[in-house]
Symmetry: C2
């Protein structure tokens, strides 16, 4: 019999069907055994009883995560046995159970909340929990809605390289790769230079890129491999135009995630971020005034938390833009208007206390770019490839970069960014802990 997806059982009441899936939960009452069976489309309660002795006997051997093919009849549940949610009004009475794969005894119940190391040590199992599937289903929507919002605004997607010949941004700790002919290559810390080059070709370009940070940080905000959603656009007047496009995109993404995953937000006890009428925009100086703190070239994590509280209270927005950081504290390619010195046209976007995006208007004039590189004590020769873009005519342009894992974590109110990466890498872990000798060879 052809397989019916569990999510489609509602239209098959009274019929014989065949379903396939995993044993999510098993409740053994001796003469009656209940199974919650899960497939990609949902869950359903299966009842095994004396009407089908062989199926009941088979059910008595089952354990969580066994993989089954079950034939049976879709019945409506008695009125008082109904539950909320999909398939809460029906059950499948099993007439035949076929085991497709057995599972070892689980080290802990799949849906039990465990500490982060246990969660990650057992990732192939814990990814099956409702909580983790919710997180990564929402993440898939976020990245897809982000792309679609950009496509709708005339941005062309491109594939940014992960292997680079030098340390693009100058400063961030980078991983070294042994390349051919004993050359050292590096893992990209950002697709920045490539997306600027792409402005020359497509004017509006975006990429979903893997990037790598070799910072020796073990905080709740750091990963050593992450996903960046980057866009860059030409022919802007100033950074406010970039911020306006970013705000539109974020509004689309949050609305789409909230609409498609209302159940997941409820289960995760998270509220979709408040968008307010408009994301408030503060200059760094204005922000420091609100904080009552002294002027400083950048914000501290505690400052970011307090500014987010302010934005929610004063503007009903979980998002707040901070602009006009001192040029000296921003990446070398950040544009500074002479009339605005020593402040740059860079910005950060905070969400619920965390910087999830940064961007700026960029320098577009060749001579100015060469001068800035020298000013930063870097060698323009090492940027000869990148500089071609400026040599051959670049419009005023700018862009921004959103960290997918940070964004997901803040949207879902997860305390640690590692929870928003299916396979997080950090100071101590690549899948398994680094000191677990059986997984990392040298």
């Amino acid at each position: 019999m052809e397989r019916t997806l569990i999510g489609a059982l509602g239209s098959r009441v009274g019929q014989e069907v065949s379903i396939s899936g995993w044993v999510d939960v098993r409740r053994d009452h001796g003469k009656i055994i209940f199974l919650d069976i899960r497939d990609r489309s949902g869950k359903v309660q299966v009842i095994c009883n004396a009407n089908h002795a062989e199926a009941l006997a088979e059910a008595s051997k089952l354990r969580p995560e066994w993989v089954l093919e079950i034939t049976g009849k879709v019945n409506e549940r008695p009125e008082k046995m109904r539950t909320e949610g999909a398939n809460g009004n029906l059950e499948l009475e099993a007439s035949e159970i076929k085991v497709l794969a057995r599972a070892a005894e689980l080290p802990f119940p799949k849906d039990e909340q465990v500490n982060l190391d246990t969660l990650l040590d057992n990732r192939p199992l814990t990814l099956r929990s409702e909580r983790e599937r919710d997180i990564f289903a929402v993440q898939a929507t976020i990245v897809d809605a982000y792309r679609r919002a950009l496509q709708a605004r005339g941005f062309t997607e491109f594939q940014a390289p992960a292997l680079v010949g030098g340390d693009a941004e100058g400063g961030a700790a980078v991983f070294k790769v042994a390349y051919f002919y004993d050359k050292t290559a590096y893992l990209a810390t950002s697709p920045q230079l490539y997306k600027q080059i792409m402005v020359g070709a497509f004017e509006r370009a975006f990429t979903i890129a893997r990037i790598f940070r070799a910072e020796k940080s073990a905080t709740t905000r750091h990963l050593s491999e992450l996903t960046q959603m980057d866009f860059e656009m030409g022919f802007i007047k100033d950074e406010l135009e970039v911020m306006a496009v970013l705000e539109e995109i974020i509004r689309d993404v949050v609305s789409e995630a909230a609409k498609r995953h209302a159940d997941a937000f409820a289960r995760l006890k998270a509220t979709p971020p408040a968008l307010g009428q408009k994301f408030p925009i503060l200059t760094l100086q204005e922000a420091q005034k609100i904080l009552g703190s002294a002027e400083a070239p950048d914000l501290q994590p505690e400052d970011e938390r307090r500014l987010s509280e302010w934005a929610l209270k004063e503007h009903g927005s979980d998002f707040v833009f901070i602009t006009r950081f001192p040029t000296a504290s921003r990446a070398f390619y950040t544009y500074e208007d002479p009339a605005e010195a020593p402040y740059s046209r860079g910005f950060d976007l905070l969400l619920r206390g965390l910087e999830i995006n940064s961007g700026s208007q960029r320098i577009h004039d060749y001579d100015a770019m060469v001068a800035r590189i020298k000013n930063c004590n870097m060698d323009p020769k090492k940027f000869s490839f990148y500089l071609q873009a400026f040599k051959y005519g670049m419009p005023p342009h700018g862009g921004s970069s959103t960290g997918l894992e940070r964004f997901t974590a803040r949207v879902l109110e997860l305390p640690n960014v590692k929870e928003a990466s299916a396979f997080p890498r950090d100071l101590n872990r690549i899948d398994t802990l680094l000191h677990a000798a059986d997984t990392v060879e040298d």
Copy 2:
């Protein structure tokens, strides 16, 4: 005045507008200067004449790739001056030209066909040519149509890691990364193990992943960094189900690319691949019979070319599947049915003489997987993370992997796969040639 996109000028005839873009071509007739101006939406001819002396004077200084803002009136062209294509019936009479950025003299005309090394040495410039923009616009459609076809079939996207703790597939040459605490990490040669793990969580999963191959090959088919479009699906009967889904996806992708980029195909003198009624399927033995060659564990490049010719001639299809390779010549996780030994349930998909995809049904039983790993002289301990997926119940499953650059190259009939990568890395090049000392530091 607000900017009008060049692609929207058709609806602005008779009006004053402001456009922004690059000088694509400049034709100087002294008293009249014609400019072809390009933005992300298209091209238009701008005419500078004595009606606007200042604009004409400005135009006399311009060179290709200068970046301009031009104000003027949209006129219909005289009947006999019209050309084919978008905006061929109109021109913009410039009243004011503002230079946003100048460009150095180009080393060669932007749209000139140059050899591959020149093309890549000057990538920030050559990406602006019509040919290169066509290639990467089609590529953006391919990757997007691939994702949408999978989403429509219930696949969930995930982010596969690029940094891995070991050499997953066992065999392929890998790049080493200096990780924290003097540990060696590796660059992923495939997202294979992770997408299988994801089957446990989502049953159907896909990823667009960056992968890395350290093979010392300098052929027209090799890159050291590439993009793979990978999917994996649970609850299959055999590899034919995977092939059926793959064929549906490929048909969607090719149809979408052909529909959206008819102009680009024409300019590139390429024909969208013929899909036929159904992609023919040959076992390796059947293929070797057609070739009149002796049995061998795999196909040679020349064999692949001849089989593609056969498929087009006999089945009107530029695609042909080859199945049932000897298990010993396939990746360790490939499923072999005892009744079919020594042949495996792996397959390749050829497009116009080149393998662009390979896939298989996978082993799903834990004991069988451990036995196979040992059989391949690998240590199951090093796969302990991956093996959890099998330990805790995996359905019969399979999937496949399409190389984005190879696929793009064959769809557009580009002779070298490097032409289908915006920023190709290979044995000799990361942006610039490795021996160009100013770009690779150590």
